[in-house]
Symmetry: D2
Subunit: 455 residues, 4 copies
């Protein structure tokens, strides 16, 4: 599903074991501040309990690696296969997603036991193969590497999910960290992009998910794109200008949501005595005007852009702008760029303000980290996309309807997990993900373009 036969990951056993240990330990470190009770609860169907995440990523290695390759394989516990399958129809019946919060046992401690046993068996398998059968290890390492990225996706979800769980609690518990000092929005600049016949999608050297392939050509008219994310302060202006009350700013389905769910601010904002507060993983505090707005749906992002006289970028525009700006990065590597990258390796677990401009010509800021950025693109397959055979083929392709693409990464994304071609996706009305807004403009065909024969 990921690396093509001509592009082997090139892992040796030792580096594979090291990376495995590193990824697995990061998950446990994220769960460490949470009590057994915290790890058990599912506060809405989209959310999964922390201990479910910890077990499910373990099940992935057990199912797709150990069960396929371990001699005399036996599952750790038969029922775990049923409990911790997320959505793989090919693998048979599974426990209802909406009911994950009803499972009290295995408890948080038992899940730790499960993890450690699978970890030991994984390390044994890889080490043994490294000594005896490098050919098999080469084939296997693609699946194990997918397991790393899979676990990283769940590391991000674990944080988004526990944020929601804690938000339901009137005691307002803190997960970690402290809130940024109050700051004001920095000037917004625009990056001009020429467009033309450009390429998008992953080139194939280094890891990518299947949905980033195949790399293909696309035509873009000249456009421009904001050099930073929309801020809370700008969002307040939208609200004060009747943003949530003016139907003409909204898509019809979005307007129905505004009314049905009484949206009047971003997801985690609440008004108390005239002050807008925001629930974060650092606790609840007054909304900070200089920080990027977060936890807004596609509908809200789109309405905001309409209000601002702008629009959202397409995913091709986003990707091409980032690459043109020199922030494409080495394939599979960490992005570089002008500013600070705010991923989940800091302890804020929350978007931070854009670093000031360093030169007169705007460069893109906040590209990776801070907030996933809504695009105007539906999540559809790239031309020529074909999912792989078998259960692993269910990883991405079957979700390609009714969702919109987000790009970049967020403050909950593990380091090493963001890249220019990465396609994240959520339904139009989703708000519990750490999503924000970058504006775009231009891109219309020039009048002279229409001189050709018309149908």
């Amino acid at each position: 599903m990921t690396a093509t036969p001509t592009a082997p990951p090139g892992w040796d056993a030792e580096s594979l074991v090291d990376r495995f240990t590193e990824v697995r330990a990061h998950t446990e470190s994220l769960a460490a501040p949470l009590s057994p009770e915290d790890q058990t609860v599912q506060s809405m169907p989209d959310v999964s309990p922390t201990k479910w995440h910890r077990a499910h990523v373990t099940w992935f290695f057990e199912t797709f690696v150990l069960a396929e390759h371990e001699r005399d394989f036996a599952p750790f516990q038969d029922q775990y296969w049923f409990l911790f399958n997320s959505y793989y129809e090919t693998l048979g019946a599974r426990y209802s997603r909406a009911d994950r919060g009803f499972i009290t046992r295995p408890g948080a401690h038992d899940v730790g036991v499960y993890r450690r046993q699978v970890d030991d068996r994984m390390r044994d398998l890889v080490t043994t193969l490294g000594r005896t059968d490098q050919g098999s290890l080469d084939k296997l390492s693609a699946t194990i590497e997918l397991g790393f990225h899979h676990e990283q996706q769940h590391q991000e979800l674990l944080l988004m999910d526990i944020k929601h769980v804690l938000s339901r609690n009137p005691l307002q518990p803190v997960y970690a960290g402290t809130a940024s000092a109050r700051c004001e929005p920095d000037d917004l600049g625009w990056v001009e992009v020429e467009g033309g016949l450009v390429e998008v999608g992953h080139r194939g050297d280094g890891f990518s998910f299947d949905n980033e392939l195949p790399r293909h050509r696309q035509w873009l008219e000249p456009y421009r794109i904001a050099d930073r994310l929309v801020t809370n302060g700008e969002w307040r202006a939208f609200m004060e200008d009747g943003g949530y009350r003016r139907h003409e700013l909204w898509l019809s389905d979005g307007w129905a949501k505004v009314n049905a769910e009484q949206w009047r601010a971003p997801f985690y904002w609440s008004e108390h005595d005239g002050v807008w507060l925001e629930h974060t993983l650092n606790g609840t505090a007054p909304v900070n005007p200089g920080l990027p707005v977060s936890h807004v749906s596609f509908y809200e992002a789109e309405a905001f852009a309409t209000w601002a006289g702008k629009r959202l970028p397409s995913e091709a525009e986003w990707e091409h702008a980032v690459v043109s700006d020199g922030q494409g990065g080495a394939a599979g590597g960490t992005p570089h760029g002008g500013g600070v990258v705010n991923l989940a390796d800091t302890t804020t677990y929350h978007p931070t303000a854009a670093t000031p401009h360093e030169q007169s010509t705007p460069r893109l800021r906040q590209v990776y980290g801070d907030c996933w950025e809504w695009t105007s693109s539906a999540y559809h397959p790239y031309p020529g996309f074909h999912p792989p055979e078998g259960a692993i083929g269910e990883y991405n392709g079957k979700f390609m309807s009714n969702q919109m693409v987000l790009r970049g990464g967020c403050a909950l994304t593990p380091p090493g997990h963001a890249r220019a071609t990465y396609r994240n996706f959520f339904p139009h009305a989703s708000r519990w993900a750490l999503s924000g807004v970058r504006l775009a403009d231009g891109g219309a065909p020039r009048p002279s373009d229409s001189d050709l024969e018309s149908p």
Copy 2:
């Protein structure tokens, strides 16, 4: 609400403290086998988490005793008042019932801290008053005694609720105890009752809930009542005779439920490879034919009675039969009778088989304990019923619609909590309570009764 002014409870401080300590300890002993995760989950809106029960009964003493009588009262934690109010509208906003399972903190351990602090303060208050102000203590002891019975109700609910929580788990955890040995149903006998102008309701000496009052007269035609509960074996016969497929046996609303929820057996039964299994607090085992059927709704009880050519007793018939049979007991005391009383002081936590007849004339068996028994009576106020003023007036009266009365007690009822006049109640379709069936017959007016003037 409970004791009338002319019938003071007559508690001295020491016995009050002793009973308090005893009741409170019993709750903790019931929670002891449960992990923090077990204590957190709400598996459906009717169910409350174990730690919520432990906290709510504590809140009851804090709110109705300490807050009213303690000098310089301050709540243990402001938000606990919001979190652990069950349904008292008079006391202001409260946390949504269906969302009790979303609260991870306070955890099971924190609730223990809360309990111990309130316990200490309660004992201090009572001991001090006992030394200084017996008059105030006399008044207060009625509320404290209500708190005992309130906590006992939640002890029973805690067990019913955790039974449901554990039932959702494919790992089939055991709470405690072991299943009874397989046995066959014993012969069913009938107790004949004369009826006439009888009295029902509590006499007022000793504790009762307000819904057992006032004692009043009611006319009963001669009837008879089964000397034991309907068994699983008899229920199997009903099922095999198409009980769940024959519309003519069912009330219209019940038939709608059968079809909408696909009922085809009691709540905790499931069929695997042709064998019917039952989930219990002792684990999952084949259905035992000699045990009382349990976890059936009013609709099922009523349909079974129709199938059997019998009917359910009215609550007046039930109460009068029990008293006539000499099992009325001393007011507030423990019932006596021919057989074993299976309340929650055994370790089965499940109904047991009726003990064999000891004499030729049938006496009522399984009156208290085993299963709450559905009656044909809607849960309505007795003539002249008036709830007390204030928040405590919400205890019973406001629930007097859309529910049916159950009588007797069950294997999860704490000892000392059952009596002949006790009115339990659940909606017609409820199945998660430990409810069973006792049949009745007769009770129709004799033809010669109709000779009077007709409208």
Copy 3:
């Protein structure tokens, strides 16, 4: 189900044909003011289209009389049996109740053709039997008489239903008649009733539904009952005193409805520019304070009574009071009494004000007609009730859960269809029926009653 073997209806063929013609013509006269479109619509699941009522009552005669007794019977149209069966499970599959408004054909005209053909065949059958086989006619006439009363029930429902259909229309169409002149509430008096061991239920001479049987004894403590219905003016006082905002007045389920459905006035009231208007079959006009309040649910009736410091009568109290007041009437006959009886033979199709007192001792007013009166009694079987065998046994018995009894009749009840023992019933939250409130008081046991042995 109706007449017992010892009480034959005693119809001869000619009088049976005459009554048949009369009942059938009345249905058509009620439908006459309605367009084909009016007759087609189902504005909510509880409501049936006019042409469905017209066809269903015809289907009743076709199914239970012609199909059973006509030589060489063939149905008018096969699919009509499927379309116009209301709820008889015994008779097989039927068209979904909630979808009755989706059936455009047969149209209103076609239903008329169906009615006329069945009418002709019914008259032929009865006339022929009258000449050839009086024995068979005697047996058949009980079913035909049931058909008369069945059609009368649907005449009442037809009017309740079309009232709801027209209420959905912003054009505010008028069905018929004109509104009463504004008037003020008359003084409310109380009728004292002794009680004791009384009889309730139908005596068996003349027609009754099976749910009025068997006549049986019941004990009543002394009570009193209001001599007229609660008025709109009194209801306004309840509203202005916070009636719909004070939880302590409501049953818990009722309070949930108030909040979920935003009840703040009776069903057909709406506020425009500070004036309360009421939708009626005579059009929409300001609420008339002297008229009985109508279209209130049981929950509202009960809350009003609590607010007034009174209660609702039980159905036994209601029936016994009416009989004691000399308004029981001859069995099956039309009631008599002091005041005007406002049934559907006037052209108001709406409750009217109580006629003034004529003597110093209050007599019951507005007993029959005006509004069906909620009682405090759940709709349960009388002791010894057994429904008849076969499809006709589904007429009443299976609905005996989750409903409350109403007594008396209303302004939409056909003349000849009301009697003292008649038991109407609706769910607690129903408001589209023409239901109102009569208060009661007393009925509590006297203190000295409790001297007997207590359980």
Copy 4:
């Protein structure tokens, strides 16, 4: 919204009045076979009653033409503005869409009166302006022309909707016409298309909707497209191969629908005694294998394509293929092509079989008419799209989320209403529209394309 200032429609008063008369008469001719009852019913929220369509298109002219331009304008009936506004938020409150079937008055006849009055006033206005103020008429004619196309859209919807209404009726009424004779599928051929940098969208000469603009460039890799629609016979093969039971063929959301709604065949198919029948406007008859499959959702179309090893075309591919094949037609004119065009000017009101190939190189058949063809394109704005100001701006833009584009036209589309650039759209799960499937293949980037620098 439609014609640009530089491209006036060029209508004179007489031709405008003639076309107006023609369009309006066609609506009435479509309603003519329907009874008042047929015209009243709304069988599901997506469906509108026939008389609502007739009134709404009249309201459009009254609101956007008469109210704006008629001297001393007064509405025909105040409440009609409320009742017959479809979704224009700018114009204020409107009657709930899902409740359109509850409005019995105005009846079908009254709507005819409304139509005739507005028609007369429209003709007077246009004729007068033609004589006195050609400048104003030039401006007005763009709105009137939009009204023509708006009414044509509702002519199509009227037929789709009444098809659904009649389908709910067990009497299986026929709207018109007779079913095609049974035939077998014709060979399917493939049309090769070169692609490259192509233009899509309307050129701007002649009428188009705003969503067809602006015309813009897009890059297409070489692809091929089927020369006819998928047939019922081919769909049967899909069903028999487990099409509706194999999760791996489906998008995740589609698979959820299959299970939730128990899809196992196209919308109007039903199985009786092993024979598959299809409900059509011509009545119900066995499924004809040679006809195009119709009334399938996007999910089904996509699953079928996956099963066939093919895919759906994008909307750009569809449009470019049609233009390349010489079937683009003059802007605004009627399409031409090799085969018969089956629009709503025939009396089948149902798709017909593809006409046989006439030459060795496949040409596209069934391009316009028969079935709307699902594409793989989400319904999004074209680059540079801006809706016009005011209420008319709500026509298209606000619906651009959660829907997929369909192209071509169908057997219910009025003649003169189809063109190559026309973008129809429905939600992914919609099945009541007359939608079918055309397959595509190829379009993937060639390996050598990926030689460029990768991010």
